[in-house]
Symmetry: C2
Subunit: 85 residues, 2 copies
């Protein structure tokens, strides 16, 4: 996808969560909804923004290495979890 | 560590969890305690065993690639989360 958008700064996030876990308030009594993200750039902006939304962003590293973990069929794909702060 | 134990089948698990999250019953109302693991062999035994304990094992892949994620300072180190089943 990054190759289709030359010059864009791509951060992979949310793709590993089903909509039912994105739509409601991500702050729960048991913790915040974990949001995995990966990217080579601009990650801090996404981390700050999604933290403000109430998610618990977890930076998995580069788009290539981290992105693999949250792609369809990856080990962290569809892992819905509340982070215990 | 694996190199110190020739012939042994090494599965990396639990190292990324603080004791306070290992000691109690891993089954909570909000979900099961996520347990990341990595290894080249014998992972299924550990998955079955830890599932019986009540954890939610998540297989991160090989000892080399997955193990890096849960080593000290790795992106999934000390990520304490309840899996929503």
């Amino acid at each position: 996808m990054a190759s289709l958008l030359p010059g864009a700064r791509v951060v992979k996030a949310f793709n590993a969560l089903y909509g039912q876990f994105i739509a409601p308030d991500p702050r729960h009594e048991a913790g915040r909804q974990v949001l995995f993200l990966a990217g080579d750039d601009a990650k801090n902006t996404v981390k700050v923004l999604t933290s403000e939304f109430g998610f618990a962003p977890v930076d998995l590293g580069t788009l290539r290495e981290g992105g693999r973990l949250i792609q369809l069929g990856g080990p962290l794909s569809a892992l819905h979890a509340f982070k215990q702060d």
